[in-house]
């Protein structure tokens, strides 16, 4: 025990990283086997399943046709947005504000989830070779997922939004004042949640009209306005200046199979 304490931190970090690199191919392989078995499972789908999928597809096609009818309208909307973006960038440059946060998005598949009561992480099948860096933001289809905390050559570890060490600047939709978001674990039953702190006293959500918490561009790792979760109730802080509350995060966060990693452009 004494020898272990005497070891320099660099040696411990190196050993830990070696163990992680050693484990990465195992999780990669098991994840691929899982995908393959899924594929084979679908190959032997019954006629009923195929008919149901066909029906679903025809609904999607009809929705697509409806969208095509709106093509002219949407093209005009795109033009309007482009003009607004140009105006905004002109304004930014006139006050020397560099707000142009451009991100590239890389899709990666999750290989293993490690979501204990004390720490929530997942491992993905892409790493340094794909240009990832520690701190890169990660999104899923319902909003923000987490950020990269360890990047190895062919795998990376994501600190999930619910992790108690995950802290970012956020704000409520339609309100620009910054607040602090912190992960607060996953309850028994799989309900993920976080905490929102430093909320101005005039914010009053209710179960009928919850407030949507979104990302802020101040942190630099996420674009502005990505959903984090919903706040139904706020309580007064000890000092009486700010409020705190529970943030309800989409439960799909614990079942995600693919995520999008935001790398700097």
């Amino acid at each position: 025990m004494f020898c272990w304490w005497c070891l320099p931190t660099s040696v411990k970090i190196f050993t830990q990283s070696t163990f992680r690199e050693f484990q990465a191919p195992i999780w990669n392989l098991t994840s691929r086997v899982d995908d393959l078995s899924n594929y084979w499972g679908h190959l032997s789908d019954s006629k009923k399943t195929l008919i149901a999928k066909g029906r679903e597809l025809s609904r999607l096609n009809s929705d697509l046709r409806l969208q095509q009818y709106r093509e002219v309208e949407l093209l005009e909307e795109i033009k309007r947005i482009q003009v607004l973006e140009k105006k905004l960038s002109n304004l930014n440059s006139s006050i020397n504000l560099n707000s142009s946060q451009n991100f590239n998005s890389v899709i990666a598949r999750i290989s293993i989830r490690k979501m204990s009561s004390w720490w929530q992480q997942t491992t993905i099948r892409k790493g340094l070779n794909d240009g990832f860096k520690i701190g890169n933001g990660v999104l899923f289809d319902r909003g923000i997922f987490g950020r990269l905390i360890n990047v190895d050559s062919k795998s990376s570890e994501i600190e999930i939004l619910t992790n108690p060490n995950f802290r970012i600047v956020a704000h409520f939709a339609k309100d620009s004042r910054p607040v602090t978001f912190q992960g607060n674990g996953i309850d028994l039953g799989g309900e993920p949640h976080g905490l929102v702190m430093d909320v101005p006293y005039d914010m009053n959500p209710s179960p009928e009209v919850p407030l949507e918490l979104v990302t802020s561009s101040l942190g630099g790792n996420f674009p502005k306005g990505i959903p984090i979760g919903l706040v139904y109730q706020l309580e007064g802080g000890k000092e009486g200046l700010f409020k705190t509350g529970k943030v309800f995060i989409d439960p799909k966060i614990t079942k995600v199979l693919e995520v999008s990693i935001l790398t700097a452009n």
């Binding site: 025990m1 272990w4 411990k12 050993t15 830990q16 163990f19 992680r20 484990q23 195992i26 999780w27 098991t30 293993i112 989830r113 490690k114 979501m115 204990s116 009561s117 004390w118 720490w119 992480q121 108690p164 060490n165 802290r167 912190q182 607060n184 674990g185 996953i186 309850d187 028994l188 039953g189 799989g190 309900e191 905490l195 614990t254 079942k255």
Partner: protein
């Protein structure tokens, strides 16, 4: 010497394979907010099958491997396992009653002690207002303990069968291991 090294390698492979299977199960269970914290499964076989230097070696490797998987402080299980290895050896020397459930309950006891130790460490560290309440800890420990017992019986039998097949070892029960 050759048989001892062979046992060391096979035991390490069995431990790592079981840990990987357990991690895959935990990966699925985590969607319901449950995790099986079962480090107590992985030190006792080495007490029976290996001498102290090799046993300690396996315990350190397995412990560090588990530290990375469970995200405990790197070295927490890596240090606890060699200590438990010595404790297990002493327990084997001292025990007279050799009913098969006794080592299982010994391992269950160490598993609970490790869980409590980890809980206390995090409680004293007060990691950024982390919410791991006492009742949640008790639920998780209870679920893990219930599942631990059958897995422990299976793991022990499986390890013995593999070692018997691969190392041509005639050892069959804990009783016989002790006499050797």
């Amino acid at each position: 010497m050759k048989t001892k090294n062979k046992k060391f390698i096979f035991l390490l492979v069995i431990n790592i394979s079981t840990i990987c299977l357990l991690t895959l199960i935990n990966s699925r269970l985590s969607t319901w907010g449950i995790i099986l914290f079962l480090p107590g499964l992985f030190f006792f076989s080495s007490c029976i099958l290996l001498d102290t230097p090799r046993g300690m070696g396996i315990c350190v490797i397995t412990g560090l491997f588990l530290d990375v998987i469970y995200n405990t402080y790197f070295g927490f299980l890596g240090l606890a396992f060699p200590f438990l290895h010595i404790l297990g050896k002493q327990w084997l020397k001292g025990t007279i009653n050799n009913k098969p459930w006794r080592p299982v309950f010994f391992q269950l006891g160490t598993n609970i002690i490790l869980s409590i130790a980890w809980f206390i460490i995090l409680l004293f560290e007060n990691q950024l207002n982390m919410k791991w309440e006492m009742n949640r800890f008790l639920y998780e420990s209870l679920i893990a303990s219930i599942i631990f017992i059958p897995i422990c019986f299976w793991n022990f039998e499986f390890t013995m069968q593999i070692i018997k097949m691969t190392c041509n070892d005639n050892l069959k029960t804990i009783n016989e291991y002790e006499r050797n």
